[in-house]
C-alpha cells in the first residue's frame, strides 16, 4: 500500500511542487484539495502517468469553515485513509487595504489562521485516532516571527498559525503524529509576483525539497531556505524600542 497525503490549497505553486516531489520520488498517492479543483486535472493526469500514483481531486474552499466538518470523510473517499495532511493555502492580501477595509483584514486573518486552524483541527482529530504513524505539515511564514508595518496583518495570522501548530505538536507528541511548521522566506510564486525588489527568492521546488526532507527527519520547525533562520534571529534580536522606528 502506498502512503497517501492530502494537500489543502493544492493550486498554489508550493503545493504543486510538493505534489510533484511526493508523487514522483516518494510514491505517495495524493488528494489535491482546492477551489476550482478542475484546473488541477492536467497536473493529476501528469502525476498519474509519470509516477503511476492515484490522484484524487477535491473541491474545497478553506473559507467555508462550515463544510470543513466533512473534509476528513471526503479526503478519505473510497480509499478510506490518509496519513499525511499538508496545509498550504494562504492569502497575502494588501496591508494598506487591510488598514482601511475590515473585509480585507478579515479575509487575511481568516484564510491564514481561522480556516487553517479549523481544517487542521478536523485533520488532527482523524490522524490522532488512527493509532498509526502520520503527519501534519503547516505552512507559516517568516512574516509571523515579528510584526512589521509592511505586512503585520498577514504576519499576525501566520504567527498565530505557528503558535497553533506548536500546541498541536505538543498535544500529538505521544500519538505518533508528527507536526512540522514550515516558515518560508520569499518564494517565487504568484503570491509574490506583484512585489518589486524582492531578494533571495527561492524556487517552489527548492522549498518543497526542504519541506519533505524536514518531514522525513522529523524536524519540528524549519525555515526555508535555511538562512532565513539566521536572518529572523537578527530581526528578532533588535530591541522593540529601536525596532518600532525601523522601516522594514
Amino acid at each position: 500500500m502506498r502512503p497517501r497525503a492530502v494537500i489543502l490549497g493544492a493550486r498554489s505553486a508550493i503545493a504543486q511542487a510538493l505534489a510533484e516531489l511526493l508523487g514522483t520520488e516518494h510514491g505517495y498517492d495524493l488528494v489535491l484539495a482546492a477551489r476550482r479543483s478542475d484546473q488541477l486535472r492536467p497536473a493529476a493526469a501528469d502525476l498519474t502517468l509519470r509516477a503511476g500514483i492515484r490522484v484524487d481531486l477535491l473541491e474545497y474552499d478553506a473559507l467555508d469553515t462550515e463544510s470543513a466538518a466533512c473534509l476528513v470523510d471526503r479526503a478519505r473517499g473510497d480509499v478510506g485513509d490518509f496519513e499525511l495532511a499538508i496545509q498550504v493555502f494562504g492569502y497575502l492580501g494588501s496591508q494598506a487595504q487591510a488598514e482601511k477595509d475590515t473585509a480585507e483584514l478579515l479575509r487575511i486573518v481568516h484564510t491564514n489562521f481561522t480556516a487553517a486552524a479549523v481544517a487542521l483541527n478536523h485533520l488532527a482529530g482523524y490522524l490522532a485516532a488512527r493509532q498509526a504513524p502520520g503527519g501534519i505539515i503547516g505552512i507559516g511564514s517568516v512574516a509571523g516571527d515579528r510584526g512589521r508595518r509592511s505586512n503585520y496583518v498577514y504576519g499576525a495570522a501566520k504567527g498565530a498559525l505557528a503558535l497553533y501548530l506548536q500546541g498541536l505538536r505538543n498535544r500529538l507528541a505521544g500519538s505518533g503524529v508528527h507536526v512540522l511548521t514550515v516558515k518560508p522566506g520569499f518564494v517565487d510564486t504568484p503570491m509574490t509576483a506583484e512585489l518589486e525588489g524582492l531578494f533571495l527568492l527561492a524556487s517552489p521546488a527548492r522549498v518543497a525539497r526542504d519541506i519533505v526532507r524536514a518531514y522525513q527527519r522529523r524536524r519540528d520547525v524549519i525555515y526555508t531556505p535555511w538562512f532565513w533562520r539566521y536572518i529572523m534571529l537578527l530581526i528578532k534580536a533588535i530591541p522593540e524600542s529601536r525596532f518600532k522606528h525601523l522601516h522594514l
Binding site: 484546473q39 493526469a45 509576483a193 512585489l195
Partner: protein, 444 residues
C-alpha cells in the same frame, strides 16, 4: 507584475519584459483578453529575438502530460513541457522523439512553433510531420483544435509559425518506437568540403541520422574538413530489457558566469577546432553511444552560452538548395575562414524536401549553422552580406536562430509568406500575437 530581463539563448538582444506565468489553461483566455499584444514564451532556447516581446505569457508552468497511448505511441501534452521531461517519460516505455533538435531543453510548443528539425531531416522531415493535433487558444479567446484535416490552414500556419497564429495550449505527438536508448554511431573524418558532401550522399540511404562538424577555420585545400557523424537506433535481438531503455540523467556541469572578453579569440578557437578535428585520429570510428551525448552533447554544460561573454553571440543558420549548394557553401566557408570569425561549432547537414508549414525552414539542400561572437563589431554587416548570398541562391535563414535578418531579405526567402499572412489575419485580425522578430520582419 515584476519586469524581468529576457533574452534568447544567444543573449542578444535583451529585453525587459512583463512575464505572465500561465498556470492553468483558463489563464490563456484571460491573458489574451487583458494583455494583448503578447507572445507565448517557452524555455527561450531560440537564439535571437523570436521568443521576445514586451509582454510574454510564460508556458513553463503548463508542462503536463495529459494522455499517453502506449499502443500507437502518441503522447498528448501541454505545450510548456520540455523535451527533457518528455524523454524521461517515453524512453523507458520504448519510445523516442521522431525528430529532435540538438538540445533537449526547448518546450514542445517551441518545437512546433519553430518546426524544428534534427539530424534525420533528410529521411524523416521536420517535427511538424508528427504533430497529429494542436489544441489552440485564439486571439478572440476561443479554443480550437486543428490538424492536417481540420482547420488545415491554421494548422500549417502554426507549424513553424513562430507562435504568431495563437496560443498552442497542447499537442498530440506521434513518437517512434525504439528497442534501446543507445545509438550505433559511425564517425568519419573527411579532408575537405567535397569529401564531406560525398560522404553524405553515399551514406544517406543507410543512416537516419547524419551531421557533420566542420572546422570552419581551416582554409585552402582543407576548407570544409569535417567529422561526419552517422547513426541509427541500436537494434536488439530479443525483447528490450530495462537497462537498455534507460533515460538520461541530470547534467553535472555549469558555466557559473559570463566569460571575460579575452578568453575567446581566433587563437583559442582555432586551437579548439583543430584539437576537435584531430581528436579523431583514425579516418573512421564505429561505436555505441547513449542518445544523450549523441543528440545533446552541449546539454551537459548548463549555461554554455555564457562562454561568449555578456555581449552574447549570434547563431547563424541558413540552407541553400543543392543546385549551387557546393559553390555557395564553399564561398561562405571561405569568407568565414578569411574573416577568422570565432566559431566553436559549425554544423553542416543535408536536408530533405520542403514540406508542411508555411514558414518552415528546411528545403532540400545544405544547411550550415555557426556560432559567432558579437565581440566582433563588424559581424552584423558581414552576416547581412552572407544573407544576400543565401537569398540569391534561393536559400533561406532559420527564424528560430535569427536576430538580424532584414525584411527585404526575408520576404524572398519564404515564398509562402503571403499565404501565412492571410491565415494570420484571419485568425488574429488585430495582431494580438507579436514578437520583436515579427515586428522586424513584418510578420504581425
Amino acid at each position: 507584475m515584476a519586469h524581468r530581463i529576457t533574452s534568447g539563448w544567444g543573449l542578444h538582444p535583451r529585453l525587459a519584459a512583463r512575464v505572465h506565468q500561465v498556470r492553468f489553461p483558463e489563464d490563456l483566455r484571460t491573458l489574451v483578453a487583458a494583455h494583448a499584444p503578447l507572445l507565448a514564451q517557452g524555455n527561450c532556447r531560440s537564439y535571437g529575438d523570436a521568443c521576445l516581446a514586451p509582454q510574454v505569457a510564460s508556458f513553463l508552468p503548463l508542462n503536463h502530460l495529459l494522455a499517453f497511448d502506449a499502443e500507437r505511441g502518441v503522447v498528448h501534452a501541454e505545450a510548456g513541457i520540455t523535451l527533457d521531461k518528455l524523454l524521461r517519460f517515453i524512453v523507458p516505455r520504448g519510445w523516442f522523439l521522431p525528430v529532435t533538435p540538438g538540445t533537449k531543453f526547448p518546450t514542445l510548443g517551441g518545437c512546433i512553433a519553430a518546426d524544428v528539425h534534427g539530424k534525420n531531416h533528410h529521411r524523416e522531415g521536420t517535427f511538424g510531420r508528427y504533430v497529429e493535433e494542436l489544441d489552440m487558444v485564439l486571439a478572440d479567446g476561443t479554443c480550437l483544435s486543428c490538424s492536417p484535416t481540420q482547420h488545415g490552414d491554421l494548422f500549417w500556419a502554426t507549424i513553424g509559425g513562430m507562435g504568431l497564429t495563437g496560443f498552442i495550449y497542447a499537442a498530440r505527438l506521434r513518437l517512434r518506437p525504439i528497442q534501446s536508448a543507445f545509438i550505433a554511431m559511425r564517425a568519419l573524418r573527411t579532408a575537405n568540403f567535397a569529401e564531406t558532401c560525398r560522404v553524405f550522399a553515399e551514406t544517406h540511404a543507410q543512416y537516419p541520422y547524419s551531421v557533420a562538424w566542420v572546422d570552419c577555420l581551416a582554409s585552402g585545400s582543407r576548407l570544409g574538413r569535417s567529422i561526419v557523424m552517422l547513426g541509427d537506433h541500436e537494434q536488439v535481438a530479443e525483447a528490450s530489457s530495462d537497462p537498455l531503455l534507460r533515460a538520461h540523467s541530470s547534467r553535472s556541469l555549469a558555466i557559473p558566469f559570463h566569460f571575460p572578453a579575452c578568453t575567446l579569440n581566433r587563437f583559442t578557437v582555432r586551437a579548439f577546432n583543430a584539437a576537435y578535428y584531430h581528436r579523431q585520429w583514425r579516418r573512421e570510428v564505429c561505436t555505441r553511444i547513449h542518445y544523450d551525448p549523441f543528440f545533446y552533447p552541449l546539454d551537459v554544460v548548463a549555461h554554455w552560452n555564457r562562454i561568449y561573454g555578456r555581449t552574447g553571440f549570434l547563431q547563424y543558420q541558413f540552407v541553400v538548395p543543392f543546385r549551387d549548394g557546393e559553390a555557395v557553401m564553399t564561398e561562405v566557408l571561405t569568407r568565414i575562414a578569411a574573416r577568422g570569425s570565432a566559431s566553436f561549432l559549425a554544423v553542416l547537414k543535408t536536408m530533405g524536401a520542403q514540406e508542411g508549414g508555411m514558414l518552415s525552414f528546411p528545403l532540400a539542400g545544405y544547411t550550415l549553422a555557426l556560432d559567432l561572437s558579437l565581440r566582433d563589431r563588424g559581424l552584423i554587416p558581414f552576416l547581412r552580406e552572407l544573407n544576400q548570398l543565401v537569398v540569391d541562391s534561393g536559400g533561406r535563414n532559420y527564424l528560430a536562430k535569427d536576430a538580424i535578418l532584414e525584411r527585404e531579405q526575408f520576404e524572398p526567402m519564404y515564398p509562402r509568406l503571403q499565404e501565412f499572412l492571410a491565415v494570420k489575419r484571419h485568425y488574429d485580425p488585430r495582431g494580438a500575437f507579436r514578437s520583436l522578430q515579427s515586428e522586424r520582419l513584418g510578420l504581425s
